[in-house]
């Protein structure tokens, strides 16, 4: 069982409220009462109108430890050539990290070496949105996703 400090619980509460107040109402932070863990999830809609499920696993070391963001839907997520995107694993050119064991693509929002506790979840979801738009450009052109996320600079 994870031992969350009061400050951590306050932080996830603030994250949830910030999502609602900053226009990310399609996302929420949830508490898993059974095992006292937290996650954030919701559906993002791309400019083309497609829906993508995004799930953020909130680690026990949060906010000092980096949360992980997965694309839960569609599953599997395919590349333009029909291969499973998750099969690439840790990919610089597709901005992905190690996938989950059930094949969900993990989006590289901030790498471990760039993460810090000042980054809030609404920014992580924002990067998820950017990644989805770049992914759809990849589907349309076959070019690497990294070519479309030049603005997704790892600064914060």
């Amino acid at each position: 069982m994870t031992m969350w400090t009061t400050e951590q619980r306050q932080r996830v509460y603030v994250e949830h409220e910030t999502l609602q107040r900053e226009g990310f109402t399609q996302f929420s932070v949830y508490q898993n009462k059974d095992n006292d863990t937290y996650y954030a999830s919701g559906y993002a809609t791309s400019n083309s109108g497609r829906r993508y499920g995004l799930h953020i696993t909130i680690p026990s070391g949060y906010p000092h430890a980096r949360p992980m963001m997965y694309v839960t839907d569609p599953l599997p997520l395919l590349m333009s050539d029909g291969r499973k995107l998750a099969s690439l694993g840790l990919s610089h050119y597709m901005h992905t990290l190690e996938p989950s064991s059930n094949g969900m693509v993990q989006i590289c929002h901030w790498r471990e070496a760039r993460w810090h506790s000042g980054i809030m979840l609404f920014k992580v979801f924002l990067k998820g949105h950017l990644w989805i738009e770049a992914y759809e450009q990849h589907l349309a052109t076959g070019r690497n996703l990294s070519e479309f996320v030049g603005t997704m600079a790892e600064t914060a």
Binding site: Y13, V14, H55, P59, R66, M68, T72, M104, G118
Partner: protein, 492 residues
């Protein structure tokens, strides 16, 4: 000791014969022309006169014995007439150093016995014998050994080949004397420094602090010394394979045998947080020499919580320069303030090992290992050591107190070279730069502490205030396992 120089051998034989009062084939005479003592070798048609200088006195082998050890063993010596001990034999027997003096013995160790006034008749199987004879107080010199009862003893040592001269080393006061001009002898003895990360920089900092007389160290690192490390690390090739904490511990003992050194082979992550928290709470100051952001931020969080000052040092890629951040919790910017204010500077790190590279590499984009030179890392390590010393001496009545005035900035920048593709690439040469920024100079730089920092500021309360949230009621929507709104990722 042996020598291949026949001239040196003649001098040595002559001096030894005189020292032992034996008739020999070589004798010493006064040369009126040269106004010096010369050794004359008999048997040669033209007697060879050899100049003897003060340096030739060093031709005798030297035995060094720990006075502290001998005082501890004195009751046994009085009771039994002899005590046994071991000596490192260096340079083919030229120097015989008691193993008790330090942690790193020679590859050749000899058995010895110290006897009292020719006693200890049963002493056998020894290579070296040192006999102590009492001398009158009036004849005693500072080089004689003073027993616990105040009596002075003079040593005469010998092995099977030669006479040897004996030195009694009173390590603690002798080391303190060398520091006393600038550092009061005991001022750092009760100070405790936690060093996290013992690479080239961290190890160097540890040794400099040991030389200054810091009395207590806690060392944290997860790695072993590899062959590749040796070109930069103070640990040598004979130490390869050992954990760096143990290598550095022994190097500290070589410089400060009275230091208390605790070692912790520890991987720095959230799993080891509680252990690290305990170590930080016991420290006067923390030196963080790790080369990745997550570990630095973890140390920062725990140091701010414990209100312990911390110094963070790091080299830029290929050590073209480096930076040092000194954090005084709630007073100066913390490391979190730093990464938020200057993300690029905070992210420029040296990739000095394959494990560092693997940590940040992608499967389709490897990262090259690009370590810098030791001589480019050491200026940064020196600054870390200096700032650590300043923290340890803070508010103490010492000569170095004046450093507090000079080291008042939170962040220090150093450039070894104007690296291409960096903001420093067009810095002018040293010869044209009396009033411009150049390489090889320290720059102390101010930046403000972030009062809304999530580590040292009021991050949550500020957001709560802006959104009108009540932090006492921190519930979020609940979702039981299996009833989540979408499939969830699973971990192995």
């Amino acid at each position: 000791m042996s020598t291949n120089d026949p001239q040196q051998q003649m001098i040595r034989d002559a001096m030894q014969a005189i020292a032992q009062r034996k008739p020999g084939k070589t004798k010493l005479v006064y040369d009126k022309t040269k106004r010096t003592i010369v050794a004359v070798a008999e048997g040669s048609q033209t007697p060879r006169a050899l100049n003897i200088t003060a340096d030739d006195a060093d031709m005798f082998a030297v035995i060094t014995i720990s006075s502290v050890w001998l005082r501890q063993k004195w009751p046994q010596l009085l009771a039994e007439g002899s005590v046994r001990c071991h000596f490192s034999s260096w340079d083919d027997g030229d120097a015989l150093t008691q193993c008790n003096l330090g942690p790193l013995p020679s590859a050749s160790v000899v058995q010895a016995a110290i006897t009292l006034a020719g006693g200890g008749a049963s002493v056998a199987d020894i290579t070296l014998r040192i006999d102590l004879k009492p001398i009158k107080k009036a004849e005693a010199t500072p080089s004689d050994f003073v027993a616990p009862d105040g009596t002075s003893y003079r040593a005469s040592g010998s092995n099977s080949e030669q006479s040897v001269s004996t030195i009694f080393a009173d390590v603690k006061p002798e080391l303190a004397t060398r520091r006393s001009g600038i550092l009061e002898t005991t001022i750092l003895a009760d100070k405790s420094v936690l060093l996290i990360g013992l690479g080239t920089g961290g190890a160097h900092v540890a040794l400099e602090l040991a030389k200054c007389g810091v009395g207590r160290f806690a060392l944290v690192d997860r790695d072993r010394l590899s062959v590749g490390n040796v070109v930069r690390h103070p640990g040598g090739i004979s130490q390869v394979g050992r954990f760096k904490v143990h290598v550095v511990r022994d190097l500290i003992f070589e410089k400060n045998p009275d230091a208390a050194v605790a070692t912790h082979v520890l991987d720095l992550n959230f799993a080891s947080k509680e252990e690290l928290k305990k170590l930080i709470a016991e420290s006067s100051v923390v030196v963080c020499g790790t080369d990745n952001r997550p570990s630095k931020l973890l140390v920062n969080q725990l140091c701010v919580e414990a209100n312990v000052p911390a110094i963070y040092g790091g080299a830029f890629r290929r050590a073209f320069g480096g930076q040092v951040l000194r954090v005084r919790p709630k007073v100066s910017p913390c490391h979190q303030c730093f990464v938020a204010a200057m993300p690029d500077e905070a992210s420029d790190v040296e990739i000095s090992s394959s494990s560092d590279a693997a940590d940040i590499a992608y499967s389709d984009l490897p990262v090259a290992v690009e370590p810098g030179l030791s001589l480019d890392v050491l200026p940064i390590a020196n600054m870390v050591a200096k700032l650590t010393l300043t923290e340890l001496l803070k508010d103490k009545p010492t000569t170095l107190r004046t450093l507090e005035r000079d080291y008042d900035a939170p962040w220090y920048l150093w450039l070894n070279r104007p690296e291409p593709a960096t903001p420093y690439s067009d810095w002018p040469p040293l010869s044209e730069s009396s009033d411009e920024m150049t390489i090889n100079r320290w720059y102390g730089i101010y930046f403000d502490r972030n009062t809304e920092c999530p580590v040292c500021g009021d991050f949550l309360s500020n957001i709560a205030k802006n959104y009108g949230l009540n932090l006492d009621n921190f519930a979020v929507p609940q979702s039981a396992v299996g009833a989540t709104p979408m499939p969830v990722p699973t971990e192995d």
